[in-house]
């Protein structure tokens, strides 16, 4: 069963709809007890970092998410959900993140480029984190964000994207069970749905 974390922000519906469309069973996690029986966890998200983290803490999700990640079960963070995996965010105010992947969330900077970065862009994949079987590597995916995942930890960088400067568009932890995509697979049409389908078939490690 794929759990979709509901922390009061964002496009839960789009993720739920895409999994339903793929014929995958999912359930919305809206209380700590709902973590029981979840084999895969998706952290979606639209919104600002500090509000998201305070909401996660208020609802008591912080520890269950960490426990889930430590157990080796597959976890996918999407957009803001990806950013929350970092050590800290700097949007609005400096805020502690989930600390699952080393990095800091910083405002995008690219001379002559408009922020937010909105639209379809390519990804330069360094390795397959387990999402790309049957996915066209040249396909564009949908981004909509102003902040990016800044990390010096090369082994955690799975893909980069060019927007004036290169920024990290997919991250993963060393074990490989915690993955974050800056883009929205659930909004990236056929190729994105394929990634979600692949995620649903990832095994715990």
């Amino acid at each position: 069963m794929i759990g979709i974390l509901d922390y009061g922000m964002g496009n839960l519906k789009s993720v739920t709809n895409s999994l339903t469309f793929l014929g995958l069973e999912s359930s919305v996690i809206d209380s700590v007890e709902n973590f029981n029986g979840i084999t895969h966890l998706i952290i979606p998200g639209v919104g600002a970092f500090p509000k998201a983290m305070s909401s996660i803490k208020d609802k008591g999700y912080f520890d269950p998410i960490k426990t889930f990640a430590d157990s080796g079960k597959p976890l996918l963070g999407i957009c803001l959900g990806m950013q929350l995996l970092a050590d800290k965010g700097t949007e609005v105010a400096e805020t502690e993140g989930l600390g699952l992947i080393p990095g800091t969330i910083e405002l995008m900077k690219a001379e002559g480029y408009r922020i937010p970065h909105i639209g379809w862009n390519g990804i330069n994949l360094k390795r397959d984190p387990g999402l790309f079987e049957g996915v066209k590597k040249s396909a564009d995916v949908y981004f909509v964000h102003s902040y990016h995942f800044a990390t010096k930890s090369e082994e955690n960088i799975v893909a980069v994207t060019d927007y004036g400067n290169e920024f990290v568009s997919i991250v993963a932890n060393e074990k490989g069970n915690v993955i974050g995509t800056q883009f929205h697979p659930e909004k990236s049409q056929k190729q994105g749905l394929r990634m979600l389908d692949n995620f649903s078939r990832m095994k715990a490690c």
Binding site: N11, N17, V46, G119, W120, A139, D140, E186, Q189
Partner: protein, 252 residues
């Protein structure tokens, strides 16, 4: 690199899709859910829904369309029309919208832009502007083109950008439905006045118009409606045309 976007716009009136000329004389153009399904199968880059009667009828934006479309169209969905509260924004986002367009309310409740951006992030707060060219001047209108606004175009968009609007949806009333091409001067003016992405709408009648707007201005996204409603054109052919003319668009 970021690709140029092609965005069909669906105007909603009483649950149907309509299209007019100069924001008037609307004609029925079909069922919006069916149309979205077709556009989805044609891999358009995004869909924009504008509920054109919501503000004038003082009612909430029609969220039902987003509920339905988001069940089968896995692409960015933007909706506007009558949005005047945080609750409405939340409802639309929860219904499956990715971005909301705030137009009329921005003139009297600029806090909505700021609060919306703070709560949901700038990237989902789109400022909608309706512009008419009058005696060589660009004039802003609200309430679907019915009420003239006494604020300058540039002042307005720059102020809203500062408050947190993350994108601008520029609707050109003067060229709306005319199918004579985009107003490049207007697009350039808006584009260079802000640092957020701009979507320009109004005037596309053939694929050359899209190519011209992309080569003569630096706009990142073009929206259109009539071109698909009233002619033997569709987004697949638009993509093929643009690709053949070296416009960098999405690879599928």
């Amino acid at each position: 690199m970021l690709k140029k976007r092609i965005i069909p716009t669906l105007l909603l009136r009483k649950g149907r899709m309509v299209k007019g000329v100069n924001f008037d004389n609307y004609r029925d153009t079909g069922d919006p859910v069916f149309a979205s399904r077709v556009y989805n199968s044609q891999y358009v880059d995004e869909l924009v829904f504008l509920d054109i009667d919501a503000t004038n009828e003082s009612r909430d934006t029609n969220a039902e369309i987003i509920e339905k479309v988001s069940k089968e169209c896995f692409m960015p969905l933007t909706i506007g029309g009558g949005i005047n509260s945080i609750q409405t924004i939340r409802k639309l986002l929860n219904s499956g919208a990715d971005k909301v367009v705030i137009n009329s309310a921005a003139y009297t409740q600029s806090d909505l832009i700021r609060e919306g951006a703070k709560m949901f992030g700038s990237q989902c707060i789109v400022l909608g502007i309706d512009v008419k060219k009058e005696e060589g001047e660009y004039v802003l209108y609200k309430n679907s083109g019915r009420i003239k606004c006494n604020v300058s175009l540039i002042d307005h968009i720059q102020k809203m950008e500062t408050l947190g609007a993350g994108e601008i949806f520029l609707n050109d009333i003067s060229n709306d439905g005319k199918m004579n091409g985009y107003d490049h001067e207007l697009i350039k003016l808006v584009n260079r006045s802000v640092n957020v992405p701009v979507v320009a709408c109004g005037g596309a009648g053939n694929f050359k118009h899209l190519e011209d707007a992309y080569t003569e201005t630096e706009v990142g996204a073009l929206a259109m409606a009539s071109i698909y409603h009233f002619g033997d054109n569709n987004p697949i052919r638009a993509r093929a045309y643009l690709m053949n003319h070296q416009i960098d668009i999405k690879k599928v």
